[in-house]
Subunit: 342 residues, 4 copies
């Protein structure tokens, strides 16, 4: 069976390098081109010794591929993707450039005018558990942000089934790799270790993405507060989501919250509804999302806790899951490794 | 000036050993007696090499002291404290045994019948920023739990001023020392590192304490969801508190939330209302509580973030602050050290 | 192709659970039996949620298998292995019970009299890079200790080629998982984090193993000082090895130290001689050993630094590598995953 | 008692900010001037929230002071110090610019020609345990490097008493704060966490400093290999030092190694010779150096392990200790705080 050729644009960030790690072992594709800007001309192994087994040179331009992953920063990603899509190359965009359906949101949240609103409308939001059918037909898939992945998988069943009122609070705790490989004081080791802090308190860029997707699942307009926190670990996001239960809704299904969630995610290879509060460590290195729904009976409040590895299900792994769907592979191809613990 | 004699009952837990560290440098007291059960007969320096400068032997029984700190586990603490208080010795109880005014709560939350409901009524809840006057006259002070300290200092001004509705969510992130020095799988290094998880999801013991104190500040009965999380660091608690603003209440005082908080905590030596999201690292080793109030304007929601060092303001430091008030010392005596950073 | 049946005795320690993770994805074997003592009767997924995909129950007794891995503690391991070997079942022993050729060493280092000195003589020390041929014929392979694996791979070429004098110092830094899953104060999170310490300073049990294997490579009796240190990370061992170069020996091959090492490890799938000082993170989750030899020209001293993941190449991965050799599989089967970084 | 005025040049690095923390609580001095380059004009509290209690503005130029600490990078430090010393201001230089007696070493190790060789000869190497008398008379004290402090205190007694041969190996493990507050990939959180690595393997700048001071203690020229390692913690250095014992030397004093070390450090307020292997955590935030000497009897080798907090005894604390000696204060003034544990 001939392998499809795939490429990674901007392999040098954490999402890019994680794509390389996973794609190298994928049974159906050949990683045939990797690009990087400052690192162009260098051997991949020299920049990332853990990938020494992959004998490739980072180039400035993408070679011929059947499908490309873009791990470029936002704005630059759109610029490089648009001509590719026009040439008929399938693309999974790990950046935010094709996630928000309303082009008007880009100046507000990302500080640029979207260069291709038409393409934006055609792009599919790549959360397979919600948009699998569209992804299968798409040429351009916008890979969800790390926080939205965990938060949406936690909330989708409750919102879709109309269990909750519109007030939603998402309190997320992320490992530091989510902030990327670019240096900053807040991700300097001595500043980030032994420390927890909230950030982007006035509104994180992943908020409109969460709102857009929750809205699409229901009739009401959710009123979402999303507060991300940085915690001292390299990988993992745990999101604790809070909402008020509609009276009676679950009443009829008393004790059946978990069943409802299990039904919703029936057959999903990467979502596991669990009986005990999950831990980020239980997803380390894997494409799993663990979801734990419960009721705070004192206050008729729904609490849903979800965990993912932000670099896998929150980035590179989900991108490959999207590719698998787009190219008609088994959805778990290349993503079967169990979490690495402890 | 003669020094008061103080003792620590059960010096071998993290609260006890932190008391020893701080009391050793206190200008007005002499640490004259320390007890421990399994460690009785051993030199303090052999059990805790960082305290080698303190030349004391751990004994089985408390010697003569003017004031005692109990760092015993709950239930045992009440047993050892009751005779002391009857003998007229002032006590600061770091355990939970005298925190809940309603004796009926103890069987529910702590699984024992309270042995001295009368004494319970006389005991004062030792959060100086709220109960300073009573603490000054008290013989028995119940030192607040670590989570309640941070959560109450975050919420007290908003509740007291009637800014918010009764629905309150407290999402706390604690370092591992909060779980104590007793071994357990969840605090085994390899299990706790690189990991975040929620725990006590069905109701943490600190919840009734939070509810009791919030109720006392207002007319309404707050509906509190409190979810604690364990994060991989040794010290620190960050609490993110969420509530819905009453319309108009802050409207008149638009932009004045910080001022209102600053007024509320005017003159407080250990509470600092800050302009930027605080970080637990900024309190490491100190008795500070940093409080950051803000409005999520998209949803008229109040968010207050607070940070403390759980072993200092959340335990030993606050106990010493209470002692300072009880014995008429300057409230900051022995607690002036700045946070250790980075 | 029918799969071989393999079992894990004592799956509940870190070596056992890592074996399960890796064997589950091995193309040639079926994990058909797992045992545990206190956990017998429980589902593997309940004890180890990251292995939820493996639907197995932990039993008290090993079922029928072609090959068994023993991850029992020392002494107990021998007891359970001896009857298996007698019944003709191939065994890889992850414990120390069959590593030391001289039965007289067991009372000294492990505090028990070896129950089967004859079997000890037949057992093969499972460091494939040195004993591959014997391993292929063996029924009982003693999987090397984590420290010896890194230290021996660092020193073997220099010792074998006679480059150094007999004085050897091995200073090793290990992650905490090396201490196992059994609770202890020194591996309690708050004690192990933000901390480095040496331990077993009077002689670590891995010392006789290192000496035995170095002796076998040369004519002289090496005078080895081995000092292990605990560092705050879960996985990884970095060993810095120091020895005095024999004059002239490398002189003729000036600048050829790396070449000599590359020659020695030519064709080895899991040893990589590197050009820059390696980092433990570059091996995380993989079966790699990185080796960096260099000369301190100021003092004619050889320095060799090696890195492994102590749970993979230092335990479970190497055990599977041994199994692959014993059963005639490709040596890399089931061990192809790249290191997880960052 | 009037307080002496002191200033910190370049308060914005980790050594500078630690000086500010400690000096603020010093009973005999007033921190009256702090400088910084890029941060000039900003409030100290805005740059370092943990120092909010210190109400000072960072200025571009040093004000009038009795003694100045320079925490400038090397080369720049000499430039700013020379005119100060000429004006009769006492200086403690935390940089390396006045540590090496031989001006010819600067081009080799620090890549600049020393601008004031005469002053270099007058400067005193500020390790009080060795040079206390000269420090008391000095106008310019060169504060030792962090690694040399730990290594010299570990080795000085053995070298001075002629216990060992000239071959010395120093294997040091440092927390990441030793690398400073300047951003770099190797100190990026996600790169440094879960990782150990050696660095500066071809010769670290602290080597000549170690050699110079060891030479001064003995007649022989020590042959020192010094290999520093980065470990994932913010503070602390543990150095494991290895040397060969001279036959007979300790023989007469069999079992008296610890006594010999205790004698050597008799009366030293900050060096503690300990009976058990020390841990960096036991010095966190304090000016202590723990020293553990032992004999590897199998090989007649001396092993000495020392621990310090690199930012205190390894930088700011030792600088204040030097100031205390220079200004005739009690040597422990401002340095009495016990280590913060856990």
């Amino acid at each position: 069976m001939e392998k499809f050729k795939v490429g990674i644009i901007n392999v040098t960030g954490y999402a890019g390098v994680e794509l390389a790690r996973l794609l190298h072992r994928h049974p159906r594709v050949e990683l045939s081109s990797i690009t990087g800007r400052s690192a162009a001309g260098q051997k991949l192994a020299d920049v990332f010794p853990h990938l020494a087994e992959i004998d490739m040179t980072i180039s400035a331009e993408l070679g011929e591929v059947d499908l490309a992953f873009s791990a470029m920063p936002h704005k630059s990603s759109a610029e490089v993707i648009i001509p590719l899509v026009e040439r008929g190359i399938k693309v999974v965009d790990v950046s935010a450039d094709f996630r928000l359906k309303d082009a008007g949101e880009y100046p507000k949240w990302y500080d640029f005018t979207h260069p291709a609103p038409k393409l934006l409308r055609k792009a599919v939001y790549g959360l397979p558990e919600i948009h699998r059918v569209e992804i299968a037909k798409a040429n351009l898939v916008a890979n969800p942000g790390c926080y939205p992945t965990g938060a949406l998988l936690a909330l989708a069943p409750a919102v879709k089934e109309g269990l909750i009122h519109s007030d939603i609070i998402i309190d997320s705790k992320s490992g530091v790799s989510g902030a990327g490989r670019t240096l900053s004081l807040s991700t300097h080791y001595t500043e980030a270790v032994d420390n927890v802090r909230a950030y982007s308190v006035q509104g994180h860029r992943h908020l409109p993405e969460i709102v857009q997707e929750l809205k699409a699942l229901t009739k009401f307009s959710p009123s979402v507060t999303f507060l991300p926190h940085l915690v001292p670990m390299s990988r993992g996001i745990l999101s604790s989501c809070y909402a008020t239960l509609k009276e009676g809704k679950l009443g009829k299904k008393e004790g059946k919250l978990t069943d409802l969630y299990r039904d919703y995610y029936k057959g999903e290879p990467f979502v596991r509804v669990v009986d005990k509060p999950p831990e980020t460590k239980q997803t380390w290195g894997s494409n799993l999302c663990l979801v734990y729904p419960m009721v705070d009976v004192r206050n008729s409040r729904l609490i849903v806790i979800s965990c993912i590895d932000n670099l896998v299900k929150g980035a590179a792994g989900q991108a490959i899951q999207n590719m698998n769907i787009m190219l008609g592979f088994s959805e778990t191809d290349g993503l079967e490794a169990l979490p690495v613990y402890p």
